[in-house]
């Protein structure tokens, strides 16, 4: 128990919590989008994220960068970041689409029971993360130091670094764009229609399977961005990074109200904050336990999460 530490370091803990939370929130969007439309816990989403982290690292590796190389010039860094983002997004997006095509679409065609989807999702997740594990010999892969962390501004003892600022801004921008897309665009209207009632939407001329592919793709894009932010922040990735962070991201989605985009943001940020506070008070080994306790307590009071489900219909 270290409450004085919490009070003393409240500012810094809040910033690190928000940074962690922003990554979790971006990751959680994939769960929430797919769940909102298909009522399916897409377990393989953690591997969508995982391949995103490897995608950008391999990209940077092509330029001869590894964890030991010196930081390139500012312009080169910006170029590398953009390239990394593009490759990570592509890797994650393609993975998400392939998983949908291989593991879910055949089942949907047969109108399989929901549990069957869950199990193929687990199968896909196992297959991808374990193959990655074997290929990378289950070793950590280091990340080149692209961004030298330095404090941009500070309030009291709270120093906000350039990296933290970048991650939080990036997450908020992505969230905003996605929210506008779902709520304003024609494709977004299709997604909302399928989420509300797949059959009626199909009768109204919405191409259901295209909407479903789109949803997986959007989730993949967000996971790709989250993956780049993650490797920049943590500085390493491993075959099980996706699964470990995925549990937190899924919790965040449920916490905010799964199927609800703003809920994912709220849940992610809240989870990041609580984890950081709890790690300070109880010790870092209790970080995940705190997340789950928060989740269980919230669900007992609000059984459909903080903001409830809004992308789709209320659950029976």
């Amino acid at each position: 128990m270290n409450f004085s530490g919490l009070i003393h370091d409240f500012g810094p803990l809040t910033v690190t919590g928000l940074t962690q939370g922003a990554i979790i929130a971006l990751f959680a969007l994939g769960y929430t989008l797919v769940y909102g439309v298909l009522r399916l816990i897409n377990f393989a989403h953690s591997e969508v994220f995982l391949l995103g982290t490897y995608g950008c690292l391999e990209m940077w590796g092509l330029f001869g960068l590894d964890e030991n190389s010196a930081t390139p010039s500012t312009i080169a860094v910006i170029g590398l970041l953009v390239l990394g983002l593009v490759v990570a997004i592509a890797a994650s997006g393609v993975t998400a689409l392939v998983v949908e095509l291989v593991a879910y679409r055949p089942l949907r065609r047969r109108n399989a029971p929901p549990l069957a989807f869950l199990i193929t999702a687990i199968g896909a997740s196992l297959a991808i993360s374990e193959s990655t594990g074997v290929i990378t010999h289950r070793q950590n892969k280091g990340v080149p130091s692209l961004i030298v962390q330095k404090s941009v501004f500070s309030i009291g003892n709270m120093h906000v670094t350039n990296l933290q600022l970048l991650i939080i801004t990036m997450a908020l921008v992505m969230m905003f764009v996605l929210d506008r897309f779902i709520n304003r665009s024609r494709l977004g209207r299709g997604i909302r229609a399928v989420a509300q009632s797949p059959d009626s939407a199909a009768l109204m001329g919405v191409n259901k399977s295209r909407v479903i592919s789109l949803v997986f793709l959007l989730g993949g894009l967000m996971a790709g961005v989250a993956a780049v932010m993650y490797v920049l922040k943590i500085g390493t990735t491993r075959f099980d990074s996706g699964t470990l962070l995925g549990i937190q991201a899924f919790s965040a989605a449920v916490l905010g109200g799964i199927g609800n985009l703003r809920g994912a943001l709220l849940g992610g940020l809240l989870l990041g904050l609580v984890e950081n506070y709890a790690a300070e008070v109880f010790g870092s080994q209790w970080l995940n336990a705190a997340a789950f306790v928060l989740l269980v307590l919230t669900l007992l009071v609000r059984p459909t999460g903080l903001l409830g489900e809004s992308l789709g219909r209320a659950r029976a």
């Binding site: 769940y35 009522r39 816990i41 291989v102 593991a103 679409r105 055949p106 089942l107 949907r108 065609r109 047969r110 109108n111 399989a112 029971p113 549990l115 069957a116 869950l118 199990i119 193929t120 687990i122 199968g123 896909a124 997740s125 196992l126 297959a127 991808i128 374990e130 193959s131 594990g133 074997v134 059959d199 199909a202 191409n207 259901k208 399977s209 699964t243 549990i247 899924f250 919790s251 449920v254 799964i258 010790g283 080994q285 209790w286 995940n288 336990a289 789950f292 306790v293 989740l295 269980v296 669900l299 007992l300 059984p303 459909t304 659950r315 029976a316």
Partner: protein
């Protein structure tokens, strides 16, 4: 009017069970013959440790490189867990992603009571700690179930997942449960023959027989429960909870029953595991374990006892069997790829048999209805 109405065809003796196939044939057999068959299967199961001695096919079945009786024992507790999870997921339709939590509770209860490393210093015999372990597991099921069973479907799934993770984190991070140092010296089950203890360290065959006996008892219990008032209530809850509630089924009560019985069987697996290994630490109780068992239950056919047995056995057998086979591409042992291959196997099985390998009859019929119901637009 009544005279013109043709009487509906007499339903067959055993109702919906007897609609063709091997199971229909089996259900139509006289009772004595059915029991004789089951007895034969049980005897064959007891002879499994010697299957490697059959010339020709024997060596193909057993896994090379590891002790076959140990592999069989591993299989036996996977089957046991699959049977328990089948009660929760298959019968009552409650999605539980944290089943390993109860397994852990059972194993740790035994370890705390018996191991010399424990802070309790009780050093009980294994058998004495078993009832306590089972009771604690059951209570854990009730404690988890009571507040959370108001949640539906996927929310319940994440809460159970959280429960198992919390148990694992507590086991990893507290000094009382000793983290990955673990408890050593957990005693083996009692009994001796010819001056030597039956349950030794060298030969795992007696443990497999013990596990098999426990499995048979559990099968009998679970099968009777499924056919009782409790089982019918589970069925009603699984199909439509609101309708069940309106018809007077006390849903919370029966869901709690399912959780407690599932937890009991999970705990049973845990105490056996502790008794065989003699060592309990936090590395065993990872999330993947729950996921594997769940995959076994659904793959075998949720809601069907035979299916759960097959699924549980496959989940343990397939990854092990890949040991010692070299792959043509990388020329490494396929054992490294075991879970990757297993993931692909799961996907393939579910695509071709979404209802599971040996589905429950009722579920298979439901699925057929679903397939007719809506032609999905692709």
């Amino acid at each position: 009017m009544t005279a013109t109405t043709t009487a509906p065809p007499e339903p067959t003796k055993s109702g919906f069970r007897a609609n063709g196939g091997v199971r229909g044939w089996f259900a139509d057999l006289p009772g004595v013959a059915r029991w004789a068959f089951l007895l034969l299967f049980a005897v064959l199961a007891y002879l499994l440790p010697y299957v490697g001695n059959i010339p020709g096919i024997g060596p193909q079945i057993i896994t090379t490189g590891i002790d076959w009786p140990s592999a069989l024992f591993d299989m036996s507790y996977f089957v046991l867990l699959a049977l328990g999870l089948n009660v929760v997921v298959g019968f009552a339709g409650l999605l539980d992603l944290g089943y390993v939590g109860f397994f852990a509770v059972g194993a740790y209860s035994v370890a705390l009571l018996t191991s010399p490393d424990s802070i309790l210093h009780t050093k009980w015999a294994w058998l004495a700690s078993v009832p306590v372990g089972l009771a604690v597991s059951m209570v854990a099921g009730l404690i988890l179930g009571w507040p959370t069973l108001r949640l539906r479907g996927d929310y319940l799934a994440i809460v159970t997942l959280g429960f198992a993770e919390i148990i694992r984190i507590v086991a990893t991070s507290t000094d009382t449960l000793r983290g990955d140092r673990g408890f050593t010296g957990v005693p083996h089950p009692p009994g001796s023959g010819g001056g030597k203890p039956i349950f030794g360290v060298a030969d795992a065959t007696p443990y497999f027989w013990l596990g098999l006996s426990v499995i048979i008892l559990v099968i009998l219990g679970v099968r009777n429960l499924d056919r009782s008032r409790v089982g019918r209530s589970w069925l009603a809850i699984r199909e439509d909870e609101e309708a069940a509630e309106i018809m007077g089924v006390r849903t919370i009560k029966y869901k709690l029953w399912a959780f407690a019985i599932g937890a009991f069987i999970g705990g049973l697996g845990g105490v056996m595991f502790a008794g065989e290994q003699g060592f309990v630490n936090s590395d065993t109780f990872v999330l993947q374990f729950s996921i594997l068992v769940l995959a076994g239950v659904v793959m075998g056919g949720a809601g069907n006892i035979t299916g759960a047995i097959l699924g549980g056995a496959l989940v343990s057998y397939i990854p092990d069997r890949l040991r010692g086979i070299s792959d043509p591409l990388f020329h490494t042992d396929l054992y490294g790829f075991r879970f990757a291959i297993f993931g692909v196997v799961i996907i393939v099985i579910m695509i071709f048999r979404p209802q599971g390998l040996i589905p429950s009859r009722r579920r298979a019929m439901e699925l057929r209805d679903r397939e007719k119901e809506v032609a999905p637009i692709e």
